[in-house]
């Protein structure tokens, strides 16, 4: 390219561009803006995907940990709510009965495999004595069989060694209730006495140990086939495996 032609082409280019610029300054732009970064898009996409993968992995681990912590917390709150409900019930019971000497928390199950007993965290230091009754808001649980300064052992009503003088609430018929493992049975109710399934069984107070009128359970079935007396099966109102707090009541004088 000669010197002259290069000057001409420069003038030509500049002139054309000036026209273009003047046109663009008064009207719209001729060419849309081109983003050069778009050329790098696939590379950026790959880089972002790899970055996202590691970030998501990390985030996933964090979220799993968070879920675990939250579920633990939820379980804790749920148990607190249940405990609160139980304590409220037992406090209501304490307000109703003036003969309650202590409210104890169950700390362990029976001392031997032959006896159905529970241990509570209150003992003689809290005014508990042998043969005192143990209740929950649902009904009778058992009686205190051994007392230590800071703990006591309670024989449950379902233990075969347990007996209490009872009454059918509807008919006022009296009998003796014994433990039978899972449930209880009432003995010494004559065949002619009418006992219906579902009848409520309460303490009669005649044995001098348990206060009168404490609910024990409901009649499950009656058997009149053997001997002079009916054998009545009773389901306790308070299941053995759901006892967590008990109220200890003074012995009847």
């Amino acid at each position: 390219m000669t010197k002259k032609s290069s000057i001409i082409s420069l003038i030509l280019i500049i002139t054309c561009c000036i026209f273009l610029i003047i046109y663009q300054s008064k009207n719209d732009r001729i060419l849309p803006k081109f983003y050069f970064s778009q050329l790098l898009n696939p590379l950026i996409l790959i880089k972002d995907s790899i970055k996202d993968f590691f970030l998501l992995k990390q985030e996933n681990a964090q979220l799993k940990k968070q879920i675990f912590e939250l579920s633990l917390r939820e379980n804790y709150y749920s148990s607190l709510i249940q405990e609160n409900k139980r304590l409220k019930e037992i406090l209501t019971l304490k307000e109703q009965r003036k003969d309650i000497v202590a409210i104890g928390k169950v700390i362990s199950k029976g001392s031997t495999k032959y006896l159905k007993t529970i241990w509570i965290d209150k003992g003689s230091e809290h005014g508990i004595k042998k043969d005192y009754s143990a209740l929950t808001p649902n009904g009778l649980v058992g009686k205190v069989v051994s007392v230590y300064p800071e703990s006591s052992e309670i024989l449950l009503i379902t233990d075969p060694n347990f007996s209490v003088s009872v009454r059918i609430q509807r008919s006022r018929t009296e009998g003796v209730l014994n433990g039978k493992g899972d449930n209880c049975i009432i003995k010494y109710i004559p065949l002619e006495e009418e006992v219906l399934v579902g009848d409520r069984v309460i303490t009669s107070g005649l044995d001098g140990i348990f206060p009168e009128g404490i609910i024990i359970g409901a009649v499950k079935s009656t058997d009149k086939r053997n001997g002079l007396f009916q054998i009545i099966e009773v389901i306790p109102m308070q299941p053995d495996n759901k006892i967590e707090e008990v109220a200890i009541v003074k012995r009847e004088k």
Binding site: M1, S6, S9, I13, I14, C17, L20, I21, Q24, P32
Partner: protein, 103 residues
């Protein structure tokens, strides 16, 4: 000449206005070519660096003058000067690297 115009066109594509960079690059390129054809200069790296710096400034100034004149776009003079100066400084090592071993 066409090469410089093409470079300017590519730069303009990245902007919204077509033309200013073509003019600035063509003019700067034209002057640069004229300068390189003068045999009385000794093209040492320092001199090359100085030329790159001055021509980058020239290119940017032409570009800004066109944009300001035709499109009534206002710039903060200090910020603009700083940007152009930094750009010219950055262009020195790049220009030296590209022209390494050439007269």
């Amino acid at each position: 000449m066409l090469f410089f115009a093409f470079i300017g066109f590519i730069e303009d594509l990245g902007q919204e206005i077509t033309g200013p960079a073509i003019i600035s690059k063509s003019l700067t390129g034209f002057i640069l070519v004229k300068l390189t054809h003068q045999f009385f200069f000794t093209w040492s790296p320092h001199f090359k660096g100085m030329i790159i710096f001055i021509f980058t400034l020239l290119d940017e100034v032409i570009y800004m003058l066109i944009v300001i004149s035709f499109f009534n776009i206002n710039f903060e003079p200090f910020v603009l000067s700083k940007e152009i100066f930094i750009k010219a400084l950055i262009n020195i090592p790049i220009g030296l690297f590209i022209s390494w071993g050439r007269p």
